[in-house]
Subunit: 286 residues, 2 copies
């Protein structure tokens, strides 16, 4: 291996586009310490609202710029008001900057039609360096039993066709396990499960920031429980446990307790090396 | 029922002491809007450190005073530096105050030996009113299979006797499921489980604030995986799903993924009416 520049410009690797949709749409510019500007893309909308996982990834990128550590070990977002496409300001506030981890809050703000700044999302996160971790793995977790990718359903397989696919669906190569998409044909399993193979549509491989989006990218488990309509997230916490290997992810989501108008969604994300790379839980309104 | 004062002073109910240890030790005085004073009690120490669940309950009480809603629906704490017994200041910062829920951050600060104010814990929470919720329950969660309370082990049954019980153990009536306390005899099950019956030692019944303590009151699941020593919490998130019925709680904690020096602990708390009243997850350092 040489550090000398190559005479031949290598073509971009198949799984690493020069500028991915995800990287472009989560870009953040630091205006001054603690103040970051983003331009939220309509490409990540589901109906009128921007996806909460996409927004968490934008906040996650601002926190990465504000903190000395690169990777979100644990990040929690509380969704306050509906975020819309367009400009947003993210203010970060560091609580502690330690040797191995650092912790900060952040708020995402937009200007409403009357010119007032409104907080949309508040976040609290601890960052570290996944590459600095080592040591044994003693896990009893096993990857979800799922059919191969080719036997799973794309969003465009929906009886309504491509027109029925939310805008965000075009950013993703999402293949739903047939066992968990009976709801699309009016026959939910009533078990509160959702499983899918997931990649970014443009082939960009997953990384810790895109995992923040991946945990919230599937249709709500509520659909599998016979609920219809929007299931707004109140709070979402993601633990990133390892840097994902290249290749498609498997995402498995479970809801056990739908009660008094709220439900939890527990997501696990597995990489192509059969490693549990992220765990998340959200509290949503039924 | 009459509002007129009774001529006979009723004795305090068996399960509602006039002033419980928990209420006294989590008391918070609001000095000015957004600034609250607490005096942290050494009675909730495990070794030298104060228990993270106890501290979350203190923060939870400050947030209750700061917000228009009484109950923590979802609350996340990041533990920055070790909190010690003695005075503490809690600063709350409301993000949004809505009709049905309100959201705020809070920080717990102490003055170190050099006179500097140090942040110990940062919190983000959404509050609501559990009594205002109604509607159906569609749950597939079932209470943990556990022997009756009388067949479970008290901390004082430990071979080391009462001297081996951490200070916090004296605030609790904690009865460990024999299946999950082999570690105390040098024979951990290696399954990453911990289950117990739990009440406050003075008979005060559980409420949403004491649930914040209950999720972190059992010995770490790491003990059941053969780990020894302290397992410091990086982050703890609690969802309070219902107001607990009077009587002892059952707490069941599971760890599935111990990897690269971190593990998650998932806790469920069940009340005497067989209702799942709280779910929590923490990320801890092995």
């Amino acid at each position: 291996m040489s550090d000398a520049p190559s005479q031949v410009t290598a073509p971009p690797a198949a799984h690493a586009p020069a500028t991915s949709e995800f990287d472009r749409d989560t870009a953040v510019r630091t205006r001054e310490p603690g103040v970051h500007e983003a331009r939220l893309s309509p490409g990540w909308a589901i109906g009128k609202a921007l996806n909460g996982g996409y927004l968490l990834a934008v906040l996650g990128r601002a926190l990465r710029q504000a903190l000395p550590h690169p990777d979100p070990f644990t990040i929690t977002a509380h969704y306050l008001t509906a975020t819309v496409a367009g400009p947003a300001t993210i203010r970060t506030d560091t609580a502690r900057s330690g040797r191995t981890v650092s912790t900060a809050s952040a708020g995402l703000f937009q200007t409403d039609e009357r010119g007032n700044e409104v907080e949309r999302i508040r976040v609290l996160a601890t960052y570290g360096d996944l590459d600095a971790l080592s040591g044994e793995i003693r896990t009893s977790a096993t990857p979800p039993a799922m059919p191969p990718r080719e036997q799973c359903f794309r969003a465009t397989d929906h009886p309504g066709g491509a027109a029925a696919v939310p805008e965000m669906g075009h950013r993703l190569d999402l293949r739903l396990d047939p066992e968990t998409c009976g709801w699309a044909l009016g026959a939910p399993s009533m078990r509160g499960r959702m499983r899918a193979w997931l990649q970014l549509a443009d082939g960009r491989d997953a990384d810790p920031l895109s995992l923040l989006m991946a945990v919230d990218a599937l249709p709500p488990t509520g659909f599998d429980l016979g609920l219809t309509g929007w299931v707004p997230t109140v709070e979402l916490t993601v633990h990133v446990r390892a840097r994902p290997a290249p290749g498609p992810l498997r995402v498995a989501i479970t809801t056990r307790n739908l009660a008094t108008g709220f439900l939890e969604e527990d997501a696990e994300v597995w990489d192509s090396a059969d490693r549990l790379v992220a765990q998340s839980r959200q509290l949503a309104r039924a």
